[in-house]
């Protein structure tokens, strides 16, 4: 029976559901001119949620609702960074949405529901909870992608996302049903215990394969990456920035819960599958990104390659590897919001700034913005002393530690290939003559300018003082 204690454990989630509903109602009775209030209210709601997550964190992992929900350090860290990324998204998105008549309450409420999905997913203690959280996240995302309903490109992207996403969810559900058939349990902790002596080990392994497909799809790892470039390009940039950041943390959380908490006994089976996914993602992401001319597609392929690095850490299948992968997911989420944030800052009414050539001569037009983008790009490329470098260092270290030197070498070689397309962006900004005309969003919106600067400088600060964050991540897994 649920009691008060269970509800207290889920307080941040309940609070966020209530707040999202209130905002939805508020929006219905508000004049469009007052939308600024809604915007700032949503930001405050998220900030309070961060406080509730951190303040209410128990010292030892606790479960609620009969093991459905787990509140541990892993979930805490992932939730905090997912919420921070969403705050960034809201601030960056406002000028863009305003210019395109998309400045509507649905954007905020749908995003908030997606965040609730993320929070449930990363705290899942049961296969049903995994599935519920995932569906809440993805259904909200489908609607968000179609936010600009008059744009054929957006509608196409939404349909593609929906069809492929539904297929992947189906696969995942099918895998879960087989796992249930083999073990007779949906609880992740019991699954792990039952995994060693399952009645039908073949059925369990078969279910595992389907679950890996689902995870691969949500991460966007090759060969399940097809939706990423189209959705990134087709969705309004204000939505792409969300899809490209916080849900990556959720996908990591889901992979960790399903594979380690649930299928920990089958580690030798999934380790090699993840390694294969990692190599494919690194190869496809980095090679295909070279020929892209659209900045959003370039970042989409770059995401695929980054998921390859994240899988390097997961494939190590030890607490240090998980910590490295979580560190990587956090760094990627922060870099992703920053990179798309620059694109949003440069776009204006009637101009998307989604081609690489649109950045031409940015150093002359706005040296500060060019410098911020420079830091983001070098961080994505993994050049020290930026955050992205330490993330790469740690996953490579984890792979070598787990006796997978070959995997680390593959990761290292593809870092060089990846460098080429990152450098092209810097080249366009710094070495080419400017073609930009007109006012930039960043010059109109002070909050965007401030928060974007904070976001990017955090990459530099975390690149220098990465010890505490890494310590936090490792403590979450080592206990």
């Amino acid at each position: 029976m649920p009691n008060l204690n269970d509800i207290l454990i889920l307080l941040p989630e309940f609070y966020l559901v209530a707040a999202a509903c209130v905002l939805l109602l508020l929006d219905a009775f508000m004049q469009p001119a007052q939308r600024g209030l809604l915007h700032w209210l949503s930001v405050v709601v998220l900030l309070v949620a961060i406080y509730l997550v951190v303040a209410g964190q128990p010292d030892v992992p606790v479960t609620a609702f009969g093991g459905m929900f787990v509140r541990d350090r892993v979930a805490e860290i992932l939730k905090v960074f997912a919420l921070i990324c969403t705050v960034f998204v809201f601030v960056y998105a406002r000028p863009y949405l305003r210019d395109r008549n998309l400045y509507v309450g649905e954007f905020y409420t749908l995003t908030l529901f997606a965040v609730i999905g993320i929070m449930l997913l990363v705290s899942a203690g049961n296969l049903v909870m995994v599935y519920l959280g995932l569906e809440l996240l993805t259904l909200s995302s489908y609607a968000l992608v179609a936010l600009n309903r008059d744009s054929p490109l957006s509608s196409e992207a939404a349909i593609k996302y929906f069809v492929l996403g539904a297929l992947a969810s189906g696969m995942l559900l099918y895998g879960m049903s087989m796992v249930y058939g083999a073990t007779g349990s949906l609880d992740l902790a019991q699954l792990r215990a039952a995994g060693a002596h399952a009645a039908m080990p073949n059925l369990l392994q078969f279910g595992l394969i389907f679950m890996i497909i689902g995870i691969g799809f949500k991460l966007g790892a090759a060969p399940f990456h097809m939706w990423i470039p189209d959705v990134y390009e087709g969705a309004p940039t204000a939505v792409t920035i969300f899809i490209g950041s916080a849900p990556k943390l959720a996908a990591f959380g889901m992979a960790y819960r399903l594979l380690d908490s649930g299928m920990g006994e089958l580690v030798h089976h999934w380790q090699i599958m993840l390694a294969a996914l990692a190599v494919l993602s690194l190869a496809i992401g980095n090679l295909v990104a070279i020929v892209q001319t659209n900045l959003k597609r370039l970042l989409a392929y770059s995401t695929i390659s980054h998921m390859g690095y994240l899988l390097l850490g997961l494939a190590s299948a030890n607490p240090q590897g998980y910590a490295a992968a979580m560190f990587y997911a956090i760094s990627y989420a922060l870099m992703g919001t920053a990179a798309f944030g620059v694109i949003l800052a440069l776009s204006r009414a009637g101009f998307e700034c989604d081609n690489i050539d649109d950045l031409k001569g940015l150093n002359q037009k706005s040296p500060w913005l060019a410098f911020l983008m420079l830091l983001v790009i070098f961080s994505l490329a993994g050049v020290p002393p930026l955050f992205g470098f330490y993330a790469k260092l740690l996953v490579l270290e984890a792979a070598i530690h787990a006796d997978m030197l070959w995997l680390a070498l593959v990761g290292a070689v593809f870092a060089i290939i990846g460098l080429y397309y990152y450098l092209r962006v810097v080249k366009v900004m710094y070495f080419d003559k400017p073609e930009l005309v007109g006012e930039l969003s960043v010059q109109r919106d002070a909050s965007l300018r401030l928060v974007l600067s904070l976001n990017v400088l955090s990459l530099l600060v975390l690149g220098v003082c990465w010890g505490p964050l890494l310590g936090w991540c490792q403590k979450a897994f080592l206990g």
């Binding site: 150093n363 002359q364 470098f389 070598i400 060089i416 450098l423 070495f431 003082c465 505490p468 890494l470």
Partner: protein, 502 residues
């Protein structure tokens, strides 16, 4: 304060660079003076450390150690031994003269140019003084960013190609270095370079790590056959970046060999010493001939750099060979000392030559040899310096170029007379390409009307070249202070090579 000297030398230029970015280029002369003041102050501060150095101590001095905390065992650890200190001197001396030498040649986004130079200076000092492998790597790699921008923004017509080639080539090397370092970290549980040097390693491990280090540092030096980025980068880079590149950045490759490769994988280094010696001789002889046929002055100097850095690697690995053969340790010591002096000397000479070419370029906006002729008639002072540096580059006794090459040839003679024979070829080849260039640029009738209009050196240029000339002559006539400075560390290094790890 003397406890934090290295941190000051590293971070004051970086902060100065950030300050320049904030000041912007509304008052260019003020900007130049600020930069010059910082650079000069750094040089004087660095020089003031010389009397404080304990010449008999082969270990690290001016040590700073600050743990990052966190689960990865790495630290903000700085310190210099004799070799590293000599290299930091090269950095501060070079940067000061680069700022002075490119005073008026850059006008486009001057503040960013000067900021790049300053940040480079800080990162290069950090690189030479890092005693933690990860910190070394951070500086090693971080300095690529300002250099990439220097070449790409202020470079010549094909600057973008050159900048990308430079960055990708070097990044390829450094990521191999990173993988090797992570492997070592996994074995040793620390990134401390001194501890890594004590780590026992099997034959297979040493071989792999040797080639990891080799890729990283041979690209940076650069050695044949991975030298092809250097001519492109040099030709397209603005004068200041060329000087920085030739004078200092190449030395990081040589420094990496003695700091990482020799102490950590001595057995593999001994096993493949023959390979390194062959590659060095190819650089000295073959690249020398390549330099002969170049028509662009910067290209001549770029190939000459590859050939002269060949002497550095030759000296290092002849020394390894001699130690492992159980031969005369004193002769091995001479080879290693020769290599170190050659690094300094090549820094002075190549920096000076690139500055000279830059001064001609400022006047004529061409680097082609055929566009000049009879320059001595209108620029006698310039002619004096140019001939001096050309002679030094071809190893004239009395200049620093002679000392390093002489010591290296001397020790290679005991390894094998054949090595010495090929190495000695350099005297003829480098004299040929340098003197031929001097003949076509300086001597003869005035080539064309543009040359006739050229003005001789102004006070600033005269000062810059005299400083270079002073360094070249002092190190040539009285090399003792430099050799004495590095002696203890070099001796310890040679002893380390002798220790079998297998």
């Amino acid at each position: 304060m003397s406890n934090y000297l290295l941190s000051i030398l590293t971070w004051v230029p970086v902060l100065g660079g950030i300050l320049l970015l904030i000041v912007r280029d509304r008052r260019p002369d003020l900007l130049r003076w600020i930069t010059l003041t910082i650079a000069t102050a750094m040089f004087l501060l660095n020089l003031s450390m010389w009397p404080m150095m304990d010449h008999s101590n082969p270990g690290m001095q001016f040590v700073e150690h600050l743990s990052w905390g966190g689960p990865i065992h790495t630290a903000y650890a700085l310190g210099v031994d004799g070799i590293a200190y000599a290299m930091t001197l090269l950095v501060t001396f070079g940067t000061m003269l680069v700022v002075l030498g490119s005073w008026g040649s850059i006008t486009y986004r001057l503040h960013q140019y000067m900021a790049c130079l300053m940040i480079m200076e800080g990162l290069m000092i950090g690189c030479f003084s890092a005693t933690d492998a990860l910190l070394f790597y951070v500086f090693f790699e971080g300095m690529l960013i300002p250099m990439f921008l220097l070449i790409g923004i202020w470079g010549g017509p094909k600057r973008i190609h050159a900048a990308l080639k430079f960055f990708i080539y070097t990044f390829f090397g450094s990521i191999m270095l990173l993988t090797s370092l992570i492997y070592l970290y996994n074995k040793a549980g620390t990134f401390d370079i001194h501890t890594l040097a004590q780590l026992p390693l099997t034959h297979t491990e040493q071989t792999w790590l040797f080639f990891g280090f080799l890729v990283a540092f041979s690209i940076k030096i650069p050695m044949v056959p991975v030298h092809t980025w250097l001519p492109d980068a040099h030709v397209e880079a603005p004068t200041g970046a060329s000087v920085d590149l030739a004078m200092i950045m190449l030395k990081i490759g040589g420094y990496g060999l003695v700091r990482f490769m020799l102490p950590i994988v001595p057995d593999a280094a001994a096993e493949y010493a023959w390979l390194m010696i062959v590659l060095s001789l190819v650089a000295i002889v073959y690249i020398g001939f390549v330099a002969l046929v170049q028509e662009d002055m910067k290209r001549v100097m770029a190939y000459s750099s590859v050939a002269h850095m060949g002497f550095v690697t030759l000296g290092i690995f002849v020394s390894v060979l001699l130690v492992r053969r159980g031969g005369n340790i004193d002769i091995a010591l001479i080879g290693m000392q020769g290599a170190m002096v050659q690094m300094l000397s090549h820094g002075f000479i190549s920096g000076a030559m690139f500055t000279c070419v830059g001064m001609l370029y400022d006047r004529m906006h061409t680097r082609m040899i055929k566009d000049y002729g009879g320059v001595i008639n209108v620029m006698p002072w310039f002619g004096l310096f140019f001939v001096l540096f050309a002679m030094a580059n071809s190893g004239l006794p009395g200049t620093s170029g002679f000392v390093g090459e002489f010591l290296v040839i001397l020790s290679s003679f005991s390894a094998s007379p054949w090595i010495a024979l090929f190495a000695a070829f350099t005297v003829i080849i480098s004299a040929a390409y340098m003197l031929w260039m001097v003949k076509r640029v300086l001597w003869g009738e005035i080539g064309n009307s543009h040359v006739a209009e050229m003005k001789d050196l102004d006070v600033r240029e005269w000062l810059t070249l005299s400083a270079f000339a002073g360094a070249v002559l002092i190190a040539g006539v009285w090399p003792h202070p430099f050799i004495h400075l590095m002696d203890a560390s070099v001796t310890q290094l040679v002893q380390q090579i002798g220790i079998h790890k297998i």
